[in-house]
Every structure is written in C-alpha cells, then in structure tokens.
Amino acid sequence: METDFKGPPRAGRRCAMTRFTRRRFIETTAKIGGLLAAATAAPSFVKRTIADEKHSEYLKAKVNWRQAEGEQLKILVTPAHYFNKFRAITPHFTELTGIKIDFEVIPPREMREKALLDLGAKTAIYASHTADPMYLPLYEANKWVDPLDDYLDDPTLTDRAWFDLDDIIPLWRAANQVKGKLYGMPVEGECTIHIYRRDIYEQLGLTPPETMEAFAEAARKSHRFDGKIAGAALRGFRGPGQNMYIWPSLFLAWGGRWFDSAGNPQVNSEAGVKSLEFYCNLNQNYGPPGVENFNWPEIMEAFAGGNLVQYIDANSTASVIENPNKSKVAGKVGYGRWPKGPSGRRVTSIWNWAMPINGALSPKKKRATWLYIQWLASRPTQMSSALYMEGPDAVVRTGVNRISIWTDPQYRKVIAFTPDYADVVLTSLKEDTDPDWRPRVPQWPKIGEIMAVAVQAALVKQKTPKAALDEANAQIAKVMRE
C-alpha cells in the first residue's frame, strides 16, 4: 500500500492504531509474563491471538490463508468509490495472508486497454483487474484467463461451504460464464432502474409508470411544465458502455433478439426499429439540451441540479442524488423497476465488475490472486466494505454481490433512501435481468461499437432509425462471418 497513489487516509490511521494497541498489548503481556521462561515465545503467541480475533470470520474457512505468503500482486482498478473502499481495507488481507497487493488506479477505458495489452502480450504484469463481463468471451477465446472453477473446486484453495458461491447474485455469475465456466468473480455491480422526482409526480398528479408508454406520457406531461425542467433522459453518449448500456433494455423489452436461430443478427427487426424510435423520440422531444452527449454523470448532475424530472440509469447514482451536499433534490426522489415494454417484459441492465485470474502468472501467483479474489468476494469483506465510510461525506456501496447482504437489516438501513429502494434493486437484480442482455461473443467490442454509432446517428438525425439499424445489421453480419 505504500506505493499506492492517494493512500486512503483512514486506512493508514487505522493501521497505525492497530500497531499501537498491539505494541501496548505486547508490552503489558510481557510485563505480566515477567520472569516466566516462556517470555520469548509470548509475543508471537499474542500476535497470533489478536490477529485471530480480527480475522475470526476468515479463519472459519478451512483454507491455509498463508500458503502464498510473501507474494506481491499488482491489480488494476478504476477510481470508483467502491474500489477505494476495497483498497482501504485490503491491508487486512495482507495481515491475514502475508500477500502484498499494489493497486494501479486509472479510469475504465484506459484500464481496459492496459489490461488487454498485458493479457495479449502475456507480460503478466497485472494479476487481476476489474473486468467488463462483456470482454470475458474474448479473454476465453484467446485463453488469456483461467476458469475460476479450477480454483473453486480445489479444497486446498477454497472452503466452498464458507465461501458460499450460490449466495453471489446468480445472474451476475451467469453473465460471467463462458461455455459453462466462470471466468470472472463479481465483486461489485449494479442494475438500471427508473429514478424520478416524487414531488413533481405528486404535484402533477402522475403515477409511477408501469409501461414504457406511460413513462413517455409522464415525460410529455412534465416536460418544461415550469418552463425549464426537462421531462426525461436516457444516455445519449456514444459507446458500448454508454448508449449501448441503455438501448439493449429497450430492444429486449420490445421483444427483440440479437440473433436468430441460424446466427444471423436481428437488430433491424421491427423490435429494433420501434425501440430505437421510442428512444430517439423521448430524448429528442423531452430530453435536456445536449442529451446526445450525456453519459450517466451528466444525467445524474442534471437531475441533482433539479433540471430533470426522471431518468433510467444505474441504481448506484442514488447514493449521490440523495446526498444533500451534492444534490438539490435529496429526499424528493422515487425509485421503481423498469417499466414494461410492449412485450410485457421489464428488462434491466446486467453489470458487475468481474475479477479474472491472468493465465500468464506463475502457479504461486495464481494461488495468491485467487486468495485475494476469494477474500474480496467473501461475505465478511463485502459487508465491511459496504459499511466502511472513508469520511463523513462518503457515498455508500449500492452494489454488494451477495443476496444475504441485500437482505441483511444492517445493510438495508445504510441504503434506505426510500423504504422500498433496496427491494426495487433486489427485485430488478433477481427478475428483470438477462445474462444475454447484450451479445456475449468474442466480437462484442466491434458489435458494441457498431451499435453505439448506429444508436447515436439515429438520435442526432444523421440517419433514420431504420437506415441506421439496417446498416448496423449488415456490419454485424460481416463481423460474425469474418
């Protein structure tokens, strides 16, 4: 952690305090031990006892946590707040295992490029990184990462009863599987939900929409009702993780399928065209100015500034818009699952940060990496990081990976923005998502880009939805043939 960039201040203080108490404890014990012949053995015994107490939850696992002692791992993460929390409590892992973790913290796109170069060149610089699950099929096709099943099934490495894999949100695990094997461990995630101004809904006599049609109607009625506020916004910025993080939900809710049974792309089907028309009409008619370049931060800012009635985006934005220091609308917000599309389905996004094991590592480093992934994804770590506050103004984690934490009263209290927030998210995670929400094929980077361009070209009226999707469909067909 010494080499870490910002070095979370709380963690440092906490470590210093631990050392202090430990030293005092040792001193006291030594005094009590006094003239005993065992005096030389006492300090190590005492140390072990204290460590045992702090790590008692982990020591219940029947694995030797110190089997890769002395290893040093480098891990790539993004500067997101939840990774800051992980980084802050990672010194406990080092204490438990003797494995040192160095983090490299860079924004998502740059992080992915670095990870890909490292994997592709087999330089084995990064033991793991926080991967986009959509890239796991690509990793698998190139044999860049190890299947985690090998590690899960090895009793010297994993206590399956203690780790309780089934408790980790099932659809996230499904999204991280390729050909039936798990390639990335979900450590944090989210889904998209409908977020709206409860006060404006009440003022205008609107009810939370059950269907996408009603959603558009609410946007129409509230748009500029005070002369200023925009009715609704969906991400407009181009990118596989930007506009293509929203439109796939519409596409599937309109009954769309990415490929037919023969493997031909179907994005220009009626469902595709109709859902893209809906997306364009909504943003063009009721969106804030400039929405075609809005990614989630811009949408969240517009909402927090009181310039937007509603949006559908990540549930994690709640922790910012409910913070009175950062938002004008804290306490005036309502949450709901995605409205139903014409097919009768509600479709939310599927997303988690997946941690793979770099296949080019030495066997011992692989074991060390697995121990870290296991520790990070375990219930005690997920819980303590969810409750960890790096400062009084810190945002809380809204993407823990375990069902048992989502139903834990202690955690639900932390995220009780509204009485039903936790249930809205949990139900969405359980019922409204679909591992094949976007095409999980090695060619995804290309397909995602083709679709992102098509969706934005339609939004800015460079092409009609039909023409944009026809062109995209032909391009995807070509990519799949190559």
Partner: protein, 296 residues
C-alpha cells in the same frame, strides 16, 4: 600524418561512443515500432477472432477500399485538414499584417496568443466541450442565445460538431501561424517596402504584390507544419466529441485508434495507421518541392 589520422579515428570512435546511447534509444523507440507497424499491417491480427490470424499481404489495404467507415474517416480528415489549415493561414496572416506596425503592447499580444498553444490538446477539447459549447450553460451558447440566434447543438449535430472541432483546432493553432508571419514581416528588408509605398496605390495592392510574395516562404512552411499536425490530430477531438456524433468527426487517426484498441483488430488498425503515415509523408513531400521552387 599517421598521428593525425589516428587522432581522427579516435575522434570518430569517441563521437560514435558518445552518440550510441541516444542512437540506440531512437532506434528502439521509433524505428523498431515503425517497422513492426509496417509488418503488422500485412497480417490479420484480430484478437476477437484469434483462430484466423495469419499473414495476408495487402488484403488489409484492399479491405479499406470497401470499408465505408474508412472512406467516411478519410473524407472527414480531408475537410478537417483543409479547413483548419486555410483558416489558420488566413486568420494568422490578417492578424500579423494588422498588428505588425503596432509598437505598443506587442509584447503583451505575443505572450497572450501563446497561451492556447501551450495548453495540452486534451485540456483544450474538454474545456471547449464543457465550458464553451455546453448547450445553455456554455459561454458560446449563452452568447448565441443572448444575441437571439438560439441554442445550437454545437457538438450534438453532425454538421455543427465538425465545424466545432475545426474551430477548436483553429483557435488553438492560429497563434502559431500568426507568430511565424509576424516574425517574417519584421525580418523583411525595408527598401522594397518603401519603394512599394511609392509604386502602389492601395493597401490591398501593396499587400497582394509586395508583402505576400515576400512572405510566401513563411506561408509554405506554416502550411507544411500545420498540415502535418492536422493530419495526425487526435487528443482535442477525442476529448471533445470522441469522433461523434455518429462518425461525424471521426478522422483517420481516431479511426485507426478505434479499430486497434476498441475493435482489437490490430492488423487492420496498423494498416490504416500506415496509410495515414504515407499520406502525410506524400503531402509533405509535395509541399517541400513547392517550397524548393519558391526559394529558387
């Protein structure tokens, strides 16, 4: 005699020894990557479908002929390069001619026009995107609304977006043209100028028939430099629009980047980058020949 040649030989050896580290560094940092780029361009290296990777000769280049997105990028590059260079030369020239007789405050002007150039292009792109062009809140849009033109989707509409990135580039780099022209105006011999004062009737004639021919070498140099830079522009567009909306501002450099690092089609991306390299070299060669004829 023997002694002198020995001295010479040891000098030569000394010279090579001293320059070896930097030569080796340059070879390692530029020549080897360049060669590997040329080689990669003849391979199919597609990480998303690694089974089919093999040597394919010029197929990547043949594929470009049928790639509509490549042609779009080539067209955007042409518009972007020509218009930014023309605007920079024209504005730089106007500013230089207007200001070079001005004695008071010229130091201040020179320093202040330097400012855009010393900013990193990424910063320029982001600052324009957020502070100046944001609908309703950006300075330019605020002015447009206040003056009664109404809010414009500066980066949201395909045509406005291309115009916007051209304006951004022109804003940042016109000072370069201005300073070069100003310096060459100051360096002009005084006699022909004084003679011209007698021989010409209007200021336009003086400019057209006396000043312009005399600073033509400077203009050619500016055109060469600015064309080379415009052809490989990247950061400002990347941070302002990311090549969008759609593909409206996707120049060849951005396209090569996307193909390589987003689509992970490294062979094809290398071929696009190679083509851009030779295009830049060819255009520069033509300009340098023109410059040669100007000077002789």
């Amino acid at each position: 005699m023997k002694n002198r040649s020995g001295l010479y030989a040891s000098w030569e050896r000394f010279g090579w020894t001293m320059s070896a580290p930097s030569v080796l560094f340059l070879v390692a940092m530029t020549s080897i990557p360049l060669l590997s780029l040329l080689v990669m361009g003849t391979w199919r290296i597609d990480l998303t479908n690694p089974m089919g990777n093999r040597w394919i000769g010029i197929s990547n280049y043949l594929e470009m002929l049928q790639d509509s997105r490549f042609w779009n990028a080539a067209w955007v590059t042409a518009i972007y390069t020509v218009s930014t260079v023309v605007l920079q030369v024209a504005l730089g020239l106007v500013m230089a001619v207007a200001l070079f007789r001005q004695v008071r405050g010229q130091g201040l002007i020179r320093v202040s026009v330097l400012l855009p150039m010393i900013l990193a292009p990424v910063v320029v792109g982001l600052a324009w995107r957020t502070l100046i062009l944001t609908p309703e809140y950006g300075i330019l849009d605020y002015l447009a609304i206040s003056l009664g033109f109404g809010s414009k989707p500066w980066l949201g509409d395909p045509r406005w977006a291309l115009a916007s990135v051209i304006i951004i580039h022109t804003w940042q780099w016109t000072p370069f043209a201005f300073l070069v022209f100003l310096a060459s105006l100051h360096a002009l011999p005084q006699e022909p100028l004084e003679a011209a004062l007698l021989d010409t009737k209007t200021a336009w004639q003086r400019f057209r028939y006396v000043i312009l021919p005399m600073i033509r070498p400077a203009i050619v140099i500016v055109v060469i430099f600015r064309t080379m830079i415009a052809l490989r522009a990247f950061a400002a567009i990347f941070s302002a629009t990311g090549g969008g909306p759609g593909t409206a501002t996707e120049i060849l450099n951005l396209y090569a980047y996307r193909v390589s690092f987003n689509d992970l089609n490294l062979g094809y991306g290398a071929a696009v980058a190679t083509l851009l390299l030779f295009l830049t070299l060819a255009i520069s060669a033509i300009f340098f020949r023109m410059r040669g004829s100007v000077i002789s």
